[in-house]
Symmetry: C2
């Protein structure tokens, strides 16, 4: 934070002294201001302790705690216990049941294609077996190791969401999968989904391989395209607030529990 | 829901047959459509059971479960245990600590009045002693009984929020209280707040006595007025999603736990 501000000040000074802006001046000022208003620095964040891990978890689920890099070290056991417990199953079932009753209560119009958006990881499929090998979220993720895991295509199903996935189809709602997984993982992902019991989708949308677009922006853009092309987004379910944020989130959104990681 | 739709259909039929609309036709059609798309009917809602009360509570905190009239009867013990436990204290402390560290990390501008919005009930003051006498939220609230409780002015403090309230002032942020309590309760409310340790506020805004405006709309309107009159809403804390919704919610919002009731 402070380093960023200092760099911007130096850049601003350089700009002024050279007479030729390296960045447009209004943009430089905007960057300076937003750097000052940005979130906690790493050191500030490290100085917050979370002695009560259940409270930490609730904070994550409610969007009170955001932008965390790793699960607090002292909460490793809590996260392991939770994710291997009946409570995780019950929490997920409660969300999916609520989603289903909501969908069931609607009178759907037939002059549109009614769709339900499903995120993929920690929504349809579980990566807990990977995280179990890597400290249940307390370790910074090794992207190579994670990619190997994804390519193995052996992520188990999250049964409550599969149940919802099937049930909304019986109501005449089409599932659309929207994932931040890169396009290059499409083949193994489709196989993994089919093995897990997901046998139909209207569309499955992957993030362009190598794209640096924020997840919330990528998903928002894809949903707007759906809306513009004759779809009505009846519902949207995911494990990250980023799955449910920004434009065209859906008539109603549902958040599944996930204490393992935070995505923007 | 079905009764509402039927009434509207009859009204529409009456309108057409009489030739003189009792309501403008577009409005009738809008009502019909929105009734169809509205939330669960009471019978549908009653048919959802919540065998796992901790899951139900998490659903409420995450906005997955909305618009409930009462706590599920089988969850009375859970709610009582939670609200009289250390977990409630720890959960509240975690939210307030996060809010404080967020505020502390900001570089505040001095060309504005930086304010923090505080809700009142179940945010600064606790009505748990009232709800303890009335089934911990499992009973439909008797407005007369509740009003008597409010007029007694003996709601105890929520200490974690008092701590945050004091701390943000040390950072140069002004507290503004924004409550759905009616203006007629102003005198007893101010006394209750002072007795609880809240000794200063920049403004305290009550809902006009007898107003039927939805809480979320009332609070949104008041916050927009603040923004238009030279205030910057740095943060906003409350126990209802309705405290944090719609326009000008604040740069960042924080939700305190509350399984007792749901307000719109």
């Amino acid at each position: 934070m402070k380093i960023l501000s200092l760099s911007l000040i130096l850049l601003l000074a350089a700009t002024v002294s050279q007479g030729r802006p390296s960045l447009p001046l209004p943009r430089l000022i905007e960057l300076l201001t937003s750097a000052n208003e940005a979130e906690l620095s790493e050191e500030q964040r490290l100085s917050i302790s979370y002695p009560n891990c259940r409270s930490w978890h609730l904070g994550v689920e409610t969007s009170n705690i955001i932008n965390f890099q790793t699960v607090p070290a002292n909460c490793k056991d809590y996260v392991e216990d939770y994710l291997t417990s009946e409570q995780y199953r019950a929490d997920s079932k409660t969300v999916c049941k609520e989603a289903y009753f909501y969908a069931k209560g609607l009178a759907l119009k037939n002059d549109t294609v009614n769709v339900w958006i499903f995120d993929l990881d920690e929504t349809l499929l579980s990566n807990v077996p990977f995280y179990a090998q890597y400290g249940y979220g307390t370790e910074k993720q090794d992207p190579n190791a994670f990619n190997k895991w994804l390519e193995a295509g052996e992520a188990p199903v999250l049964p409550e969401t599969l149940h919802l996935y099937q049930n909304i189809q019986e109501l005449g709602i089409e599932p659309v999968l929207l994932t931040e997984r890169y396009q290059e993982l499409a083949e193994v992902t489709l196989k993994n989904l089919e093995a897990a019991g997901f046998t139909y989708w209207r569309q499955i949308l992957f993030k362009p391989t190598g794209s640096n677009t924020k997840i919330s922006n990528f998903k928002s853009k894809e949903r707007k395209k759906l809306v513009r092309s004759g779809h009505t987004i009846i519902g949207n379910i995911g494990d990250q607030w980023a799955d449910l944020a920004k434009d065209s989130p859906g008539r109603r959104t549902f958040k599944l529990p996930n204490p393992l990681y935070y995505k923007n």
